[in-house]
Amino acid sequence: MKKRIGLLFIVQRSLRQHALSTLITTLSIALGTGLVMAVIAIRAQSVSAFTGGPIGFDAVLGARGSPLQLVLNTVFHLETSPGNIPWTMYQAVQSDPRVELAIPYALGDNYYGFRIVGTTTALFTEFEYRKGVRFRTEGDGRFFDPDRQEAVIGSFAAQKLGLKVGDTFKPYHGLVFDESMQHDEQYTVVGVLEPTNSPSDRVIWIPIEGVYRLEGHVLRGSGEEYIARPGQEIPDVHKEVSAVMLKFRNPQIGFMMDATINKQGKVATLAWPIGAVMAGLFDKIGWMNQILALVSYLVVLVAAGSILASIYNSINERRREFAILRSLGARRKTVFTVIVLEAASIAAFGVIIGFIVYGAIFTSASAIVRAQTGIVLDLLQFQPVFVVAPICIILLGVVAGVVPAFKAYQTDVATNLTPIS
């Protein structure tokens, strides 16, 4: 035991003597470790968040087109809308006994880039975005009255827009913010939702009726154009929705509806299951992640190479030191062990600092993901890579140490004891 402590003492001393190269190699290992862990953890967490996160719906019914676009547009509030479907389709699925929950969305407006979604109060009273968890308003807020110009705001949007209960705002037309497109109707914030760490945090919810009545909105539910007039009820035939968010009573229903709507029908698309649609997206962009992973592995390799090179280069100047240690009774394999331990310690310190690098990369990446999608990635969520990467990288450090260690191992005592050599 004493001897082990002694060896570590020698290791620590020589790392300190070569402080600059120790520092640089440690930092490069840290960078590599942090990159590997961040790339893998961010990928794992975004895949699980986007394919099975706090979505709460099984399927989306929308206009004929790409299911992926439909899902991105409605579940994640990204992308443009592929078009509308008539209100009657909503009524049909809503009255379908196989459907547990059907919630209509009407999109097409924004407020400073944050989307305004027209919907029904079922979103607040029946929808569970996570099993057993419904939307809740903060403090003294409440949900909107479907007959009034009232709005409920997601937490992230409220924070960014600085809107709170009692504030008013006028929506802008279109999904993309354009200053010249402001509507005249004024909405009053009646509630701010508690954070859900889901895309809903970036949404402004208003009654669906309100969307129909925004000036300049043309309804084509019946095939003909119709413009709502104040004080006049809108006939159901003219109404239309961008999508209907669905929850089924059991999974088999998805198969049946997929068959009737997607395979036999021609007017609408059922994006189902949502997780599989998103998984398809990740499969498509998987190569990008592979490149990132490859780059991070290369950084680790280069870092291990720099450990090898820097220690290897120091061996010549340290031959006398090894000879002296040998003359004091150290064995060849002791010298070998010292060098391997040096390489391993650099790798180990690098790995420890690597967790800080991971934290930094992850935090900035997740800030971007949150701003873009509302999904919050959890820095501290355990990933197997947190164990696998450090072990592999330290082992790699050991391997990198073997080459210079062997060179040190070969040091001849007698010829290196004299100061000339």
Binding site: G6, Q17, L325, P419
Partner: protein
């Protein structure tokens, strides 16, 4: 009992031209425990080679070296390392202190591979050689004489049975050389270690009752 017995020891080096030149040929050399012997020899006579053979740093071509009852010749390198760590302390002409370590740490390194680190004994030794106030100094911060005394303390740190001193005063002036040899002799005596010192400095050797010409020991 004899601490060190050397019989028919031979060692040759390959000269740069390729031929073998025999440097060491010692038919018989013996030392009792606790004894102090000085060998006088001219430069290039093979004194360092002889000590390195005894220390097990060099492998003999032929013959026997027995230290403290253990036959050294024929042992593998790591066994010789072990014997050296346990039985032998070595003082070099150039001291060979490790630059990155303090005086105290240098002495402790002398213990590490043998009996194990005993910080109190290391401190005691440095105080004994008059460096109680210099323990945390690095070799570069010490005078040559002080460095030499650290080397002396380190050689004894492992409580060796035999201390080998190779021209230990070569870097010191006359006055200090005598002082240093006196110190080495005393400290070896106090720690019941035998002392084999080689030098070409007749003045230093004058202190020893038993001083031999290396040429008589080594018949090349």
């Amino acid at each position: 009992m004899s601490l060190l017995t050397v019989t028919n020891l031979e060692k040759a080096y390959a000269s740069p031209e390729g031929s073998q030149s025999r440097i060491i040929n010692v038919p018989h050399f013996e030392m009792d425990a606790g004894k102090q012997i000085a060998l006088r020899g001219s430069s290039g006579a093979g004194k360092t080679t002889f000590l390195n053979l005894i220390a097990g740093i060099l492998q003999a071509d032929r013959g026997h070296i027995v230290v403290a009852g253990e036959e050294m010749t024929g042992l593998g390198e790591s066994e010789r390392d072990r014997l050296r760590a346990h039985y032998i302390g070595y003082i070099f002409q150039t001291f060979n202190l490790l630059a990155g370590y303090t005086a105290l740490e240098n002495v402790m390194l002398g213990m590490m591979f043998g009996t194990g680190i005993d910080t109190n004994f290391a401190r005691h030794l440095l105080e004994r050689v008059g460096l109680g106030d210099r323990m945390q100094y690095r070799p570069s911060q010490l005078s040559v004489g002080q460095q030499q005394r650290v080397a002396v303390a380190r050689a004894i740190a492992n409580r060796p049975r035999l201390v080998l001193a190779d021209e230990p005063t070569g870097n010191l002036d006359y006055h200090h050389a005598n002082e240093a040899v006196t110190l080495i002799r005393e400290i070896c005596h106090e720690n019941s270690a035998a002392l084999l010192i080689v030098s070409h400095d007749s003045e230093v050797l004058g202190q020893f009752e038993e001083a031999k010409d290396f040429a008589q020991v080594n018949c090349v």
